[in-house]
């Protein structure tokens, strides 16, 4: 008789196997090769030398810059926040961080042209602050409501 079910391994990283792996490797490889062919075939427009800098840069910016920054921020938050409100505030700040990252292009507003007021019409720094404030207030309210509920239940 088995006792309590065991917790599954967190990130198993199983070695790919079976028909699904080989079939989809073949299919996906063909689609990938088609895309690569198209990219190289249209090199006057796709500029593969420039392209690889941006594609490679994408993974470096994420894995070597954003990843460690988020880890350190998470580590600090876990130590600074009181346990009662920690999960709620961590989640709230994660949402704020994502919204801020998504806003980088409008904040940069590099595409703005003086003769086209319909493009990037807002003051995005002010708008981002308002959006972040709304998320923070909402997140804190939910966190406090939850803390109060847990306290009442115990």
């Amino acid at each position: 008789m088995s006792t309590l079910p065991e917790a599954p391994p967190a990130l198993e990283d199983e070695t790919p196997h079976g028909a699904s792996w080989w079939l989809l490797l073949l299919a996906g490889g063909a689609i990938f090769a088609f895309g690569l062919y198209g990219l190289l075939h249209n090199s006057t427009q796709t500029r593969p030398g420039d392209w690889i800098k941006w594609v490679g840069g994408s993974v470096i910016v994420h894995d070597a810059l954003l990843g460690p920054v988020v880890l350190v921020a998470g580590f600090l938050l876990a130590r600074l926040l009181p346990p009662a409100i920690r999960p709620g505030i961590q989640a709230t700040l994660a949402v704020c961080g994502v919204v801020a990252i998504m806003s980088v292009p409008v904040l940069k507003h590099a595409g703005r042209r003086p003769d086209n007021p319909s493009l990037l019409p807002h003051d995005y720094a002010a708008n981002l602050l308002i959006v972040l404030a709304v998320i923070l207030v909402g997140g804190i309210a939910l966190t406090l409501a939850r803390t109060a509920r847990d306290r009442a239940a115990s």
Binding site: L25, F32, F34, Q90, A110, R113, S118, I130
Partner: protein, 417 residues
């Protein structure tokens, strides 16, 4: 087997691989003993949230948004580059269809940003797997995962930057975004194959199994993390989707466009100044030429066009950057102009602008679009003569068509049979 000298760790070349042994596995066995410290150390990351069950659920959501982007992207590509295969050609109705598919393309792309960031955070510890690859299959899979991460971040960043017309690179955006999308979908299909068994299993496993240690107080649960991801998707969607979806326009605080901001309440992509037509568009000597395969080529003044039967239609104008705006257009049907010039029923039309540069100076109308009741050279927008930036003296407007193909500052209709 003899033990190696404990004083001197063996070099990988010290013992040749056994016959038939996987070379990657051979190197991996040698590396096992040399695990670097820091993030590579066992137990360097907590395991509660860095969990397959979270990763698979976020991965499933990303598969939905990525395939949605790919499908709607193909719709947009073939609307601009027709295949000339009957059932695959873009229909002329419903007129709002392209507005929906391109709006969904941008909304799904923006929603992918939080999903991807949460997903990459969840699986980040796998970056520090040691040894880096166990065998050739594992090495292959990891190489493709690297390509998947790079292409995903690249496609989402370049697409988002394009909606704000920010081009910090040298390549042509549309062509590169298109071919990179095929590469991305290819490595995504490979990734789905690699994670097939794991994800099928863990998607059926609840986030909290009976008997599993509960989330300790003061810590975020797996369910809490997924709620945060959902909230982030909601936040980025609500603050941007109004550029394509009118009812949300007042919430579009972070959108690069607002559907009713622009000259005459309609956004503009390329201005008259940007197109270099400020003077030529206002030239009183402007004429519309109808030429090519027609028995009676014509040259019409603006007054001639205004004297013809005027047609009115409510049509949505949609840009490839995702924004959409509805307007009431008034002008002369292309069909009426073709009839007047005596064009044959099967004629196709090339609409030419006075723009001297740019890749969207002309656009083609197939027979169906050219003869459609709502396809016209518009002279008025919402009851006023077109603003210079909207294409004065006249512009093409047709249903279900990308904005870059709604040629502005028209000078010539070239008829081809």
């Amino acid at each position: 087997m003899t033990d190696p000298d404990p004083e001197r760790p063996p070099r990988p070349s010290a013992r040749p691989p056994r016959r038939g042994e996987d070379p990657v596995a051979f190197v991996a066995r040698r590396l096992e003993a040399h695990r670097p410290p820091g993030p590579f150390a066992e137990g360097a990351f907590s395991t509660r949230l860095h969990d397959d069950r979270v990763a698979a659920r976020l991965g499933l959501a990303l598969a939905v948004t990525f395939f949605t982007c790919f499908g709607t992207g193909l719709v947009s590509h073939f609307a601009q580059h027709p295949l000339h295969i009957g059932f695959l050609s873009t229909p002329a109705s419903p007129g709002w269809l392209y507005g929906v598919t391109q709006g969904v393309h941008v909304i799904a792309g923006i929603a992918s940003i939080p999903l991807l960031l949460f997903k990459l955070w969840t699986v980040y510890p796998l970056l520090f797997t040691w040894p880096p690859a166990r065998d050739t299959v594992h090495a292959t899979e990891r190489l493709f995962v690297g390509a998947l991460v790079a292409l995903s971040v690249f496609q989402l960043f370049s697409g988002l930057a394009n909606t704000t017309r920010w081009y910090p690179w040298q390549f042509n955006f549309t062509v590169t975004h298109f071919w990179s999308a095929w590469m991305l979908i290819g490595v995504l299909v490979i990734h789905i194959g690699a994670k097939w068994h794991t994800s099928r299993r863990v998607l059926r496993t609840p986030l909290q199994i009976a008997g599993e240690p509960a989330t300790p107080p003061g810590h975020l649960s797996r369910r809490g993390l997924l709620w945060a991801a959902g909230a982030a998707v909601g936040a980025v969607t609500l603050t941007t989707a109004g550029q394509s979806f009118g009812p949300l326009k007042d919430l579009a605080a972070l959108a690069p466009r607002v559907p009713d901001v622009g000259p005459q309440g309609i956004p503009v992509n390329r201005t008259a100044g940007g197109a270099g037509v400020l003077d030529t568009a206002r030239d009183p000597g402007w004429r519309l030429s109808i030429e090519g395969d027609v028995p009676t080529p014509m040259s019409l003044t603006l007054a001639d066009l205004r004297a013809m039967p005027q047609h009115e239609a409510d049509l949505r104008i949609t840009c490839v950057e995702g924004w959409s705006a509805d307007a009431r257009w008034t002008g002369v049907r292309i069909n009426d102009l073709l009839e007047r010039a005596g064009a044959s029923q099967g004629a196709e039309v090339v609409v030419k602008s006075m723009q001297t540069k740019g890749s969207y100076r002309t656009s083609e109308l197939n027979t169906i679009v050219a003869r459609h009741e709502h396809t016209m050279l518009a002279l008025d927008i919402n009851g006023e003569p077109l603003h210079l930036d909207h294409g004065f003296p006249c512009r093409l407007i047709a249903p279900n068509r990308p904005g870059v193909m709604q040629t502005k500052w028209v000078t010539t209709l070239e008829v081809r049979t």
